[in-house]
Symmetry: C2
Subunit: 189 residues, 2 copies
DNA sequence: CAGGAAACTGACCGATCGGTGAGTGCGAGG
DNA sequence: CCTCGCACTCACCGATCGGTCAGTTTCCTG
């Protein structure tokens, strides 16, 4: 693996655990066994380093969200079934980046790439708004997806996850989301 | 209201929205129309200021958690019904502090009071572990409570909440949590 | 009015941060 | 052999941070 990739991997791990603001370029350099100036040679700035890490996941998420927004309007129950699976797969695919977006999106809104992350999350919230009529139903969507994302992002830190195989985790998440969303969409509340 | 209380209120709002690390004492002083040295006169350090803001909420949460841990073991379904209501009331009571704990607990673990917050959340996770047998059930608890906490903490930022009366919000949250947890506890999965 | 405590200020400190720029080591290619 | 460019380093910069301290203002009390 090249130093470039090493640096990105180290920065990703540090940003996710200690936080972007609390991780200095010097620390990344030390962990990689190189100099701070070398980090800034490979990534022109600290913000660019974060953007290189987060952008691919954001691209994926936005693609899914935009396709959902573009598709002809479907019934809530169909929306739930369609979106749940795509969303869970997105979270699992970008499992290492999700904690950064979830836990630090709020405080890093002045960093361009994180502002974009916030906008993307707002679009997901907009999807909920379109798919649900009542206030409680919006809340239900928010809790379901926010809960999955936050639990996935924080499980390791809180010692909650253990070591669950990915496919088992996937089916468990789908089952829980289905329980929470499908009754809400099919019944009148 | 005294300047002391003003400063705490301003700091609370800034810590919750912009983040602890991104909020300088100078900015708090400017917003309060005083000097940075005056802030440090009222609160001996920035960490102390944060501790004064977060500690009361942590005291409340820990009191509930400890009483739950001390009570004789109950059936999962009873645990769910007992804890759900107390937990929702805690979140609503300390609604303004919750975003700080939820969104910044991960990155501020070196600050003593936030380390305590993380420990408290870990104890809540321990409650889930005791109350649930299977992996999927633990996940269910985590998603339910994490989802409520995270949604409540992020709703305003994402423009999701609107202006929901507190009592309506409370009953909605209780209803959703009940749907998610009680079936899980009463059935065998 | 005297005085002492409480409230507050401005100047300053050391540390750390992200970032710059000149310069070095080096391997490939003409 | 020479040169060019990539990878990298070292010294340094300005800005900002939290925090200290000596001194001043404010105000209550005896």
């Amino acid at each position: 693996m090249s130093l470039h990739d090493d640096l990105r991997a180290i920065a990703l791990a540090e940003f996710a655990t200690a936080g972007y603001a609390a991780t200095s370029l010097q620390r990344i350099a030390d962990l990689a066994g190189t100099s701070k100036a070398s980090v800034l040679y490979h990534f022109e700035s600290k913000e660019r380093l974060l953007a290189d890490i987060v952008s691919p996941a954001l691209d994926d998420i936005e693609r899914v969200v935009h396709s959902m927004l573009a598709e002809p309007r479907v019934e809530p129950v169909a929306f739930g079934e369609q979106f749940v699976e795509r969303f869970v797969d997105l979270l699992l695919t970008h499992r290492d980046v999700v904690p950064i977006i979830i836990n630090q999106g709020a405080t890093l809104d002045d960093v361009p790439v994180m502002h974009r992350a916030t906008e993307t999350m707002r679009q997901i919230a907009e999807l909920f708004r379109l798919a649900s009529s009542s206030t409680i139903e919006k809340l239900r969507f928010g809790i379901a997806f926010g809960g999955v994302a936050y639990t996935l992002a924080s499980a390791e830190r809180l010692g909650l996850s253990g070591e669950i195989p990915t496919d088992e985790l996937r089916s468990a998440l789908l089952s829980i989301l289905h329980d929470l969303l499908v009754p809400a969409a099919s019944e009148t509340r």
